[in-house]
């Protein structure tokens, strides 16, 4: 089944709020081998001018993929998750994510296309804080590999 082209342009209801904790920032930093004390030590983060420990630059994927699940788990979208590989990913940080943030994500489906027998879906998640201010824009392109 091919990816449903009618999904391009779709915007989903806000997902979350996601409460960002020190523990999940530290676990993410450990899993990617991130070295900065600012991911784990509040005093080190505060010395750099942050309110609390700061997330690694790709941490927002933990939240954006929960938003993207709304699309991927929708049977009408035609995305076979077992055939999905990652094509591209990008993060624009309007401000750093720190522990204590309560973030909400709105998923946009920017583009759906076919290329070389594969489906390609480009999404954008706009993460905002409790005051509605922009925090991170996450763009992602997944490739749904064609059969055979």
């Amino acid at each position: 089944m091919a990816v449903n082209p009618d999904y391009a342009g779709r915007e989903y209801p806000p997902a979350g709020p996601f409460q960002v904790t020190r523990e999940e920032i530290a676990a993410f930093a450990d899993a990617i081998g991130a070295t900065s004390p600012a991911h784990r030590d509040r005093a080190a983060a505060q010395a750099l001018g942050h309110a609390d420990v700061v997330a690694p630059t790709t941490f927002a994927v933990r939240l954006s993929q929960q938003c993207e699940a709304q699309l991927i788990r929708d049977p009408e979208a035609g995305i076979d998750f077992s055939r999905v590989v990652h094509g591209e990913e990008g993060f624009t940080h309007h401000r750093p994510i720190t522990a204590g943030d309560s973030l909400t994500g709105v998923l946009h489906v920017d583009r759906v296309r076919e290329a070389g027998g594969h489906g390609m879906v480009s999404t954008r998640v706009e993460l905002t804080d409790a005051d509605g201010q922009p925090v991170t824009t996450v763009t992602s392109t997944i490739v749904v590999r064609g059969e055979g």
Binding site: E24, A27, F28, D30, A31, I32, G33, A34, T35, S36, P37, A38, H39, A44, L48, G49, H50, V54, A55, P56, T57, T58, V61, R62, Q65, Q66, F81, S82, R83, V84, V85, H86, G87, E88, E89, G90, F91, T92, H93, R95, P96, T139, R145
Partner: protein, 136 residues
């Protein structure tokens, strides 16, 4: 505020990954796609073996940039990549990914620098057009 390190070697690092690390990354990121944890499943969908999350590779590679800006993640304004190859992680093995970065552009007016990274595994380029913009 920490100074930029001026040593270009600071933008190069060999990072390593094994299957236990991928379980940790799956839990920390919430990405439980079985192609990253179950070799039999990975092969059943046409992959050569279990592969690392592309986002593990991106995250591990980008840490050289955070280190470059004095360990302040808040100075990494944006980053992006294409995933151009797979990091295959065989059972019982520790796989090396070589990360190398260069300062591509300095924008004095904006106070930013653009860092370009490459990441290779077994001679194959696994990240393409990987860039980060930092506050200098």
């Amino acid at each position: 505020m920490s100074e930029l390190t001026t040593d270009p070697a600071a933008l190069s690092r060999t990072v390593t990954v094994d299957r236990a690390q991928l379980v940790d990354y799956a839990n920390a990121s919430g990405d439980q796609n079985p192609i990253h944890q179950d070799a039999e499943f990975a092969r059943s969908v046409g992959l050569p073996d279990l592969i690392a999350h592309g986002m593990w590779t991106m995250g591990a590679a980008l840490d050289v940039v955070t280190e470059y800006v004095g360990g302040d993640p808040g100075r990494v304004l944006s980053c992006s990549t294409r995933f151009t190859g797979m990091v295959v992680v065989p059972e019982g093995e520790t796989v090396e990914v070589l990360v190398e970065g260069v300062v591509k552009k300095t924008d004095e007016a904006a106070g930013t620098q653009t860092i370009e990274l490459t990441a290779t595994c077994g001679g194959e380029k696994v990240l393409g057009r990987c860039q980060a913009v930092v506050r200098a």
